[in-house]
């Protein structure tokens, strides 16, 4: 049987209309003189015809007569109850949940032990002595705040609760604000006044250039 190098490589592409114009023209010209390529091309066309015919026959064999009627019936059906949908959803996920009982017990134990410790760690971390943010600009010239004690204010030495005289819960539960630490930044001396207003249960912290800036 005669063979042609074009028959295997280029004829299928020509049949699928995948060749660019110059090569396509060349192949069409070649096919006019090459029996092998002409035969290969004819075979491909015949295969496609048979394939299309089979698909059409199969589609024709499907009965679509009651299709829309069925769709309408489904649409008019009442939705399943919430409990049923939940049940269906549960059943659909059942394979993922079918761990043995010990596995569930271990998971529950780990969750109940792990998360509280994480939670406690978080609170221990955030209630520890605060340090200034690393991105803060360091204080420049002479910025240690000049504390100006007023008649009603608490001392504001930067320190822990104990250092400002709050050694017991009774004091800690007082209505006044407790200043653990406070610092200001910038040039010049700064007076910080702390004033507690009993009527509004508010604490006022004012920063000024002098102690007389805000009346007490």
């Amino acid at each position: 049987m005669a063979t042609c190098s074009h028959a295997d490589r280029l004829i299928p592409l020509l049949h699928d209309n995948e060749l660019q114009s110059p090569l396509r023209r060349e192949m069409v010209t070649h096919m006019a003189t090459c029996v092998t390529c002409t035969r290969t091309f004819s075979l491909l066309e015949r295969e496609q015809e048979l394939f299309t015919q089979v698909i059409e026959e199969r589609v024709d064999s499907i009965d679509f007569s009651g299709f829309w009627q069925t769709v309408e019936t489904k649409l008019s059906e009442p939705m399943p109850s919430r409990a049923l949908r939940l049940r269906l959803w549960y059943e659909s996920w059942r394979p993922a949940w079918t761990f043995p009982v010990p596995a569930w017990a271990v998971a529950t134990l780990l969750l109940s032990l792990g998360l509280p410790s994480l939670y406690l760690n978080k609170h221990l971390l955030i209630t520890s002595n605060p340090s200034p943010s690393p991105s803060l600009t360091p204080p420049s010239q002479g910025i240690v705040p000049e504390i100006a004690p007023g008649p009603m204010e608490k001392p504001q030495e930067p320190s822990l609760f104990q250092d400002v005289g709050l050694s017991d819960d009774q004091e800690r539960n007082s209505n006044q604000a407790q200043i653990e630490s406070i610092c200001t930044y910038g040039s010049g001396a700064v007076a910080i006044n702390i004033y507690y207003d009993y009527e509004s249960n508010s604490t006022v912290i004012s920063c000024g250039n002098s102690t007389s800036e805000y009346p007490q």
């Binding site: 998971a107 529950t108 969750l111 006022v204």
Partner: protein, 153 residues
Amino acid sequence: MTPHRLAQLCFALTLLWALHALAEEVELHIETVLATNSSTRFDARLQDLKPLLVRTFRYTSYRLVQEIRQQARWGEEIKVALPGERQMQVIPKAHDHHRISLQVMLREGTNPTSLLNASLSFPDTGTIFFAGREQKDGVLIIRIGTTAKEKEQ
């Protein structure tokens, strides 16, 4: 109820409890008041603060220029842009013995320079006022209040 179902139920309840514990939140209420001597106008929205403002500051006019309510988790840093190119960072640290602990940082400028850094605690029913240095146009007064949304620890 089968042991399998019981185990699943226990796990689900523990998970719910854990999620609830992690979802604890606090609401910060930050108001910025501009106090000046330019007029005698008193903002009606500040009526409940009038006695305190009048008692504490010397100004004749008080205007609420910004009011922000912000949800935050404990330990989460909240940044709030304030009028006058100022920025406030607040970290709600803890809610303990009916007291709220906060870290408050006040910064100024487009390339922020720190003005104030305070770590304090106050009653959960109370408020804190910060008043800055007096400028020629007056002074900004910042009021911070909180509402803790979880049960007392």
